[in-house]
Symmetry: D2
Subunit: 466 residues, 4 copies
């Protein structure tokens, strides 16, 4: 019941990323492809020609896929005439109408190709057939302007979309400005500023407008997958323990989960959920700074974060100096672990780390008050301490942290599955700009996200006793 | 067991908002006040003097409150000498140490007041007593620099903080620049750009760094409170129905809940939760645009939002044209209600509105595709339709909407409890700038927020059957 | 020609900030006030009554001022009847029409006060007079709905606006919910989350929607003012040098200008302008980190910033490793100063600092590559080094820096005039939240801002020779 | 003097965008390429092999280019041994050291390839040679940890970087987890959320951290280019006018410049500069809304924008109702043109439009006050009016407008060079997400940007007389 058809791509399809994008869409749709022919331009000025056989599970899937490929200038090789259906009513289009892109488009009627006037996206194409069955004219029509009896193109058969010329090859105002070529050439150098060609929409990878339950599930899946790798490995190790196994590949241990946490994790009320994740074994190592540690302890001991009560109590009872008192006490105890042993610190993320033997690195920064005694104040030493803990990390989750997230991103091998959760889109962009390309950005509220994540893997929050 | 003490405020305490802020903090802390004396400057140049008796539930509460009031230059009237305690150890301060502000500060020792050198916030004050028991010198010391034996001020007794001169009265580089007064006068005109004096920290009202569970609970509380008002009113109406009570004032019915929803509600996966809130009677009227309506129906009928599958399926099956097909179908049916009657639309927020008889206004905008037939394309008519539905609204919740939120904010009386939920802080600022001062801004992810809100009031999400 | 009139404020005017705001507006408008009477409620439940005589330069000014004070519930004491003028034409209001707020409003006609129905902001008030000349009814009417002959209120005479009840005193859905008082009381505790009453609009202090030329001029003014204070002081010191002046107050030297610069200063192309400001004596001390320093040198030596050419050349020639090569060279030289002496570093901000003898502190952070030898890697030592340079600073300008800006803000006394320039509104909010209330936030593009600032004070940019 | 060398790409180079990116970098660097061999995998599971000859202007350029290509796993075909140079000093690397990526890396020594331990970006590679001259071990070393005598790899010869496996083909924790393949397969469906492979860094296309003078120059270049096309066309038309020219290609007139302006253009003080651009013929058509128009007229007539004085005067003189008075006056005149004819409106952007005969479309929205009479309140009619003006537009500049920018973006053909200038990165992302992929996003302050743009093309600002 599967359906196949051949599509063609012509022009600057390699260096403009179009080929890559098209193959991507084919695979994402669940279809498969086979490249039948590929003439790649040997230099930049030479166009390429590619023929790809696409196989989908049904005619409907194939049709839907081809519709989405039109945006990228990928057309059916085997062009029949376009199918025309009259509108039955003013302002309503026939079912299955062809929805336009904003690219130059042609329709085939009576074996002849006619350009569609006024390219505009999300419109229908209305054709005025001439006496010989070809199109006298074709134009885009917004839905509300279609009139009863208008002949509307249905399906993507007989429709061709021409890809925009890639930037640097005469981009901009397009054809007809040959004389500008030389001037325009300079613009090409600025290309990296633009979203030219079909580049641009990838910026949407980092957007707050995504289904959030999916993002939660995605991270939860990474946590579960890392856990099952850890369990398998520890199983194998036991099996082999007598003889000792030699094959300890570099990736052998890429199953530890690293969490990098900023103070907003505490401010937004996510500390109990993170504490639950630590206690239940979902986190193998924690990186943070003096701020996170202080507020984690402050919220555990006093129930406030930067003096703001997390449970809705009265703000003024405990003043802005809460965090200083907490730091001072920790300095008296000498370390977080000592404060736990003494029973003074009895809940919170760091408490759970101490209890579960999860190592943590607290790196110093110039804005630190105190700092608490576990903080490594020399930044080179702190980075070195982080380096040592990075070995074997397979999943890294950055939570509302800029400085520590970027510092950690710099230390991680490219293979580490990395999630950067922040309410500020700019932070995620920055992380990517600094070279951590593998990071998946999740623009959301860390306070709610971590709670949902803990729930998704079944870790119970550990509320403070206060 | 309650404790009282008198505090004084001197200087420009009225026009600088300091008095207001101090009374605010007193009340927020659970203490009470009584104004004993108030000499208000009759003109702007005249300083004021205020004496306020503050009563708190315990000595500890009072001490904590006075510590927090220091920031604003409110000092104990009854000044004893400061209490000095030696540090027992390098880098550790005595318990209860006085934590500094960044304001000019004096300490009293041997009955004499000495200025603290180098004002800096979050430090301790170390005093070098002279032979007569007064302070030879006093200076701020960061925690890590304190040395064993240093005499550290403990508690806020004997400490005075001087309020910064208000802007326009010689603000800026402060004392000593009398000659600049005239020039500086001009700067006063720009005052509204600054956060001068102690204004600035109110900007933190709109921040993403807040405990999110509290924000959820706050809105849930407003929903519950409106519901109980509705129930009481309907109870009263039944009681009176025989005799009929003539129509009671404008506020009588300020118990309806208005939701203004942007398309991101659907994109982020919050539509089922919102549908649940509508179905269970938590929402009395809905304002939205063509985008929200389209994607709500798209997700109900096709399981996608702008072509992105909400349940994690394959993106390409349904292309970018999904929303156009949905609009076209609705145009064929003639209205959302007709599509519900015909059984074509069987879930989603608008479906629940139709089922529950919750009125909705869909207002048009120039970026609309289609639009769907219920959209009021004339903006004046749309605003008038919204005006009619605003009567009796007591709670308004704006969800990820800029245009509709501001438009609605313009229509609401000041008494309406308004929540503006958006991931973008700028939207909330904009709403406030346009005059809707009563709005509480919640900077968070609407996708997660609405789900938690529905859970908080016990409304079950209504997932799409797809 | 000046005009005076008495206004009254009733209710919770002190703790709701209303009195402060009203006096603020009076002063900002150029008018003066005299408080005639002030009965302040001794406890929180008691209302206050204030009578203030306001004097403006003309009747028109006074009228305009009173119109703006209406928003805050400040009304003329001396109420005459409202002035009614018929609309001459459909959809056009009479000149000088009263523009409504969203607060409860009454109009006086025939000596009787009538409530205006459906409070809505930015409308006119149309009155239906009864037979006795009083108002049978009054309602808000949006401009497009006024009809020829409608009797429209003109001016603010005879109009009263009632302030909204402050939060915690029955805020929310307003009148009629006496039974809710106790429940609602709890909400008061969350007050700091809200922008209740007329608080909220101060958040607009930090907005990108401000006239930018004014912001530039404001900072330029601070630079000029600090310079003239420096010059006067140095003049005085010369005068006195023989006898030696003893009285050198704390503020004596609060005339140094501190710049805190983040790497984006270089990335956005602002380094030449900042170099010009340093060279021409507008900056006395610089705080930055390894990133700023590296990119400043990278742009000076190689013409790129993080490998991106600042002058529009080709990106690929110099790869992502440019900054590493620059750091390595500086490490070879041993210090920035040595690199300047050797002639290897011959332009840029740090070059100008070395040449002009402007001290700089480069503080380390965990994300640093290298670092360059001048960076203080121990964060406590770095903060201490910054502390020493803070003495005598009167103006601080934070440019596109979060970490260093907050760290510096923590060290500065409250009197220092502080400007925080960043394209990200959240950074400014964060700075204020951490206690630096005196900061004026300027949400703008640092790349363009610094260039305009340099131009405003007449400092020529110093372009790199590359 | 040019230099050539062959590079190889192996693996999933097409569907992972790697090939495209590599060719892009080659071209951007000024080098040229010739594809020697291209075996493309016919299905998704089959790897590809590509050999490309790259020619650069010099050995140095070629070396720099190859260094930058390493990031993408493009290696020299012709591998010699790596060059080792001993560090002369602790903490200082030899000149030309190889700077690492975070990808799996190998070095060749004695003809044998050795994996580099602990991949980490921005480090050097230190090799421990064995007795036979091959590498016993190779590891990344951060600069500060290199010790005198360490053997450091210099140049990119003899270094190979392996591309990360593309997502969906075993991404995530990498090798060794074959058993996970099936589970991981599901994750591929979520791929579009990630920046997997080397995708991610393209998000940096929209960032505030770009040299701003270049962005200004880029837009100025587009304006100049459009102008010269207009002039050439009008020249040609004159030449041909007798005979009449038939060739009216689609692109013939793609030389008009469209500006879409939001109210922040006025609020930030950019109106005079935009007025100058209109007056001097740089703008052929303007789209805006009631807000922009109102504030443009308000600032021209009263010198304020939303009541805030643009020249720094006193805010309170003119209240919040200023814009209402302006709208009311325009309604009295009947149209903007009538107000210009009557001499009431004598400056500003719209004034210049009327004077220069530049058409404008003012589209209505539900938040409009008034509106002014030129506003098209029906959104379908407004969009149709915009459609008519879109013909012949070759350059579109969106200034601080979300609604109108997206609406316009929907109407424009893909070939139109589009710039979206906004201080909010999210707006630009949104525009791209809605399909306007050709837009170049410029994250900056519109107030300063437009002034610099006007200066760059030599248009003098037209200040208001007020």
């Amino acid at each position: 019941m599967s359906a196949s058809e051949v599509l063609r791509l012509d022009g600057h399809v390699v260096d403009s990323l179009v080929l890559a994008k098209v193959l991507d869409l084919v695979v994402d749709s669940g279809a498969t492809y086979r490249i039948l022919e590929m003439e790649i331009g040997t230099t930049r000025r030479d166009p390429s020609h590619v023929r790809i056989e696409v196989t989908a599970s049904s005619e409907e899937s194939l049709e839907a896929l081809f519709a989405s490929l039109h945006v990228h200038g990928a057309n059916r090789e085997d062009a029949a005439d376009a199918l025309l259906v009259p509108a039955e009513r003013d302002g309503v289009l026939p079912e299955g109408f062809y929805a336009t892109t904003n690219l130059p488009t042609r329709v085939r009627l009576g074996g002849r190709w006619t350009s569609v006037e006024s390219p505009e996206m999300d419109c229908a194409v209305v054709v005025e057939p001439d006496s010989e069955g070809a199109a006298a004219s074709a134009r885009t029509v917004p839905m509300h302007r279609v009139r009863r009896g208008d002949m509307v193109v249905v399906g993507s058969g007989g429709v061709r979309v021409d890809r925009p010329t890639p930037r640097g090859c005469g981009a901009g105002a397009g054809a007809g400005n040959d004389e500008d070529e030389d001037e325009d050439g300079d613009e090409g150098e600025l290309g990296s500023l633009t979203g030219g060609g079909s580049f641009g929409f990838m910026t949407s990878d980092v957007s707050s407008e995504k289904p959030k339950a999916l993002s939660v599930e995605r991270v939860a899946g990474a946590l579960r997958s890392a856990r099952s790798r850890r369990e398998r490995r520890s199983g194998r190790q036991e099996d082999r323990s007598p003889g000792g196994g030699a094959d300890r590949g570099a990736d052998r241990g890429a199953d530890r989960v690293l969490v990098v946490a900023g103070p907003a994790v505490v401010h937004t009320g996510a500390a109990p959920a993170l504490a639950g994740l630590v206690r239940d074994g979902w986190v193998q190592v924690l990186f943070a700074g003096n701020g996170f540690a202080t507020h984690d302890v402050e919220s555990a001991v006093l129930g406030t974060s930067l003096g703001v009560p997390l449970a809705g109590g009265r703000p003024a009872e405990h003043g802005h100096a809460n965090h200083l008192r907490v730091i001072n006490e920790l300095r008296r105890y000498g370390s977080i672990e000592a404060a736990v042993q003494a029973g003074w610190l009895a809940s919170g993320v760091l408490y759970e780390c101490v209890k579960a033997g999860v190592p943590f690195v607290l790196a110093g920064s110039i804005r630190d008050d105190g700092p608490i005694p576990d903080v490594v104040t020399d930044t080179l030493q702190a980075a070195d301490a982080m380096r040592e803990q990075v070995a074997g990390v397979g999943v890294a989750i950055m939570l509302a942290s800029t400085l520590h997230a970027i510092a950690t991103g710099n230390l991680l091998p490219a293979g580490v599955e990395t999630f950067c959760v922040d309410i500020n889109q700019a932070v995620v962009t920055k992380l990517a700009d600094r070279g951590s390309h593998q990071a998946m950005g999740i623009v959301t509220d860390v306070g709610l996200f971590v709670s949902e994540l803990a729930a998704a893997v079944g870790a119970l929050p550990v509320p403070s006793p206060t």
